[in-house]
């Protein structure tokens, strides 16, 4: 079992996790747990080789710690990653649906506005687009996030700076 510390990768640091590495896995796990949409190299992870000597000092700046072993890594690859991808696909589908529907509603609104007899039909005012899409928020990602936090014993460190 290896504990990884996940740090915010400073912009322009030129550092990135190696593709397919456990470090990269630890960063993706941290992103799943935080449920934030973050760019690819937003985090960078390092294994904590010597917990006794460095733990106290490192955790001052680390954002997360993640525990990974072979069994958990396999679970991540085979089961959790496909689930998160499918969950992201739903968010993408919702985003695309919103854009397409807004565009069509704007075209309809424009057609009514240009007409002589149907200017009273205010499409964008009458269609409850935001209300409908609020209802479309889905929660599967929250489910995945909670489980991932538990399985990988993720600890989040909140630093309060004056």
């Amino acid at each position: 079992m290896t504990k990884y510390l996940v740090f915010k990768n400073q912009p322009g640091s030129g550092q990135a996790n190696v593709l397919g590495s456990r470090e990269e896995m630890a960063c993706t796990i941290a992103k799943v747990v935080s449920q934030d949409a973050l760019p690819k190299d937003f985090y960078i992870a390092y294994p904590l080789e010597n917990p006794h000597s460095t733990w106290e000092s490192l955790k001052e700046t680390a954002k997360f710690s993640v525990e990974i072993d072979d069994e958990r890594a396999e679970l991540w690859e085979k089961e959790i990653l496909p689930l998160t991808d499918l969950s992201y696909a739903i968010d993408d589908a919702i985003g695309e649906a919103y854009s397409a529907i807004v565009e069509a509603a704007q075209a309809l609104d424009h057609a009514c506005e240009k007409s002589k007899n149907f200017q009273n039909i205010k499409v964008l005012q009458n269609i409850g687009m935001d209300r409908a899409f609020d209802n479309l928020e889905h929660y599967s990602f929250g489910e995945i996030s909670e489980k991932v936090e538990e399985i990988f014993e993720v600890e989040s460190f909140h630093h309060h700076h004056a």
């Binding site: 649906a97 529907i101 069509a104 039909i121 269609i127 889905h138 599967s140 489910e143």
Partner: protein, 163 residues
């Protein structure tokens, strides 16, 4: 204001309305308001004050009556077609969104079901694609538009179409 009756055109009838005629436009209006499934040239418009119209009424052939003026015909040709096309595009966008979301949710449901660590949770239980998009009230919009057209053309259904 001129009143017309709209009847189904016999399949073997050689008569068709000429392009751009009042009768042709009335058949398009009737197709829209009746939600007639076939093309508009499966319909015929006849002036209501003719013997043919009386005969159609006696035979219970007339599907609907429609009243037009030069202005309302102009409205149909210039405004309504554009708006109807935009409504259809809007409905298509909504239908497409429902299909894509439904498929994505079904894939996620299946992945959860086949997983070892995540069974017991069904993502689609937490989200109703159809219910959510109905909330937009697009059907109300279409209804309002159709009602406005029905009033404008003094549309009256005379005989229900049989399936």
């Amino acid at each position: 204001m001129s009143k017309y009756l709209v009847i189904p055109r016999r399949a073997d009838s050689p008569m068709t309305h000429s392009g751009g005629s009042t009768e042709e436009t009335i058949c398009e209006i009737a197709k829209n308001l009746l939600r007639f499934p076939g093309p508009s040239d499966y319909l015929m418009a006849i002036p209501a004050n003719t013997k043919v119209a009386t005969f159609a009424l006696v035979k219970d052939d007339a599907l609907c009556s429609i009243e037009v003026t030069k202005k309302t015909l102009d409205t149909w040709r210039k405004d309504v077609t554009n708006i109807q096309d935009a409504i259809n595009s809007f409905q298509s966008a909504k239908d497409h969104a429902e299909t894509v979301l439904d498929r994505a949710l079904a894939d996620l449901d299946e992945a959860y079901e086949n997983s070892t660590g995540f069974q017991g949770y069904i993502p689609s239980d937490d989200i109703s694609v159809y219910g959510a998009l109905e909330e937009m009230g697009a059907n109300d919009l279409d209804y309002t538009f159709q009602r406005t057209l029905q009033e404008m053309y003094k549309f009256q259904v005379l005989r229900r179409q049989t399936a």
